[in-house]
Symmetry: C2
Subunit: 220 residues, 2 copies
DNA sequence: ATCCGCCTCCGCCGGACGGGGGAGAGGTTC
DNA sequence: GAACCTCTCCCCCGTCCGGCGGAGGCGGAT
């Protein structure tokens, strides 16, 4: 096997010790070459732009710009961008999903051993074939859906209004909701009107749609 | 570096040539040991149960029991089960998501080169740290949710009725839908009535809910 | 003590909705 | 050709919905 061009790696992590450790591990391999480091997300973007590495190991938690944003920026602004491996501490870190959305090519736990690290770098550097972790599995299985932005109106609903909206989203009429909540129909009408006003919708159907889109129903 | 115990691998693929090729690639590595093969999903389950490998390369499409079911069975019935890497041909294969749900530890494309293959096996054999592919990215981003069972009524809707339902699910009134579809309001009423009948719902709100629950909207 | 938000209710009104019919035109299937 | 489905449109009618304005009670905030 001949490896004329080693894999060029950039490390982005705000802790110097982490960078040093990673560099030590990676440089021990003849086919890996750590060509640059960055301590912030912004720095990572400019370093990558300049050095054009094959792979970036990107910490999620960094000052100024976090790893996710940096990833987005790199992938958006460079043509032929590097593969970006997002590094995180916990498997169930919510960043995992963000990393996925941002376009990260891979995902690595900090507690991964040296062996796994170098193999992950090699793998991500030269293939479309990839793997996925327990975190992603639970992500996909449990909340299964992205939580994009909790729309402002959700917080503005009063308890009663949430309750009414939930019943609306089950397809109940005002009269049914009234019976269920043991109040008068007029009361339900008031709550419904409030819900429509706060959600910026004009009828119950649109309100229910908004509830679904917002992941308001149990999902959140 | 000492590697006292090589990684024990079982191959499950219905095509002999594929198994042979994989065996050749993997056996060339001193730390990998192909200990068994299977040509069907059912066979894979029993072979794995007997040989207790560290890693299984599992084809998705196999006679009798497919790779997904086999994966489920293996993970459900064995304690301390092997890591299972699901092998597929296309990145956007819908099996990818099923594999994820079934508990596969990894995912590999058939067009992956030998290098990627052995590295993937090593990686999956000894770590929690993993990577994920473009397929998963689109999967997570686009349909993002599991498709449990396409309710019977979906198939019974005529083209026009689907169209109307889609508009209903955007919160439009009959009049608006009529304008949009360039037909009379009475026509839309007819279609809406048909949709309500076929979905077994009593008003447009319930119909929209049914559409959402069925993943009828764009997702399918 | 006062104000404000929340919950509870009232009446009135117009419009949208859904149910029940029916009917004609075009296409497919048998 | 007959039966059938789909799409198109029409009528009437009763109900539900949403907008309007108003009101009383209750509790927390200042």
């Amino acid at each position: 096997m001949n490896r004329p061009a080693p894999i060029r790696v950039v490390l982005a992590d705000d802790e110097r010790m982490v960078r040093t450790a990673l560099r030590a591990i990676l440089c021990a391999e003849p086919d890996l070459d750590v060509v640059g480091e960055a301590a912030t997300g912004a720095e990572a973007v400019s370093v990558v732009r300049e050095l054009r590495p094959d792979v970036v190991l990107m910490d999620v938690r960094m000052p100024e710009t976090d790893g996710i944003r940096a990833t987005e920026q790199i992938l958006a602004t460079l043509d032929d961008p590097p593969r970006i491996v997002v590094v995180t501490t916990f498997e169930n870190d919510s960043y995992v999903y963000d990393a996925l959305r941002a376009g990260a090519a891979g995902f690595l736990l900090k507690r991964a051993d040296a062996d796994a690290l170098v193999q992950a770098v090699r793998l991500v550097a030269r293939s479309d074939s990839l793997l996925f972790p327990a975190a992603l599995r639970t992500l996909a299985a449990e909340h299964a859906r992205a939580r994009p932005a909790p729309p402002a109106w959700v917080a503005k609903l009063t308890g009663r209004e949430r309750e009414v909206l939930r019943h609306m989203a089950r397809g109940l009429t005002n009269a049914e909701i009234a019976r269920l909540m043991e109040v008068g129909p007029a009361t339900v009408k008031s709550h419904v009107a409030a819900v429509l006003a706060k959600t910026g919708t004009r009828d119950r159907t649109q309100a229910v749609i908004a509830a679904y889109e917002a992941g308001f129903l149990n999902g959140g």
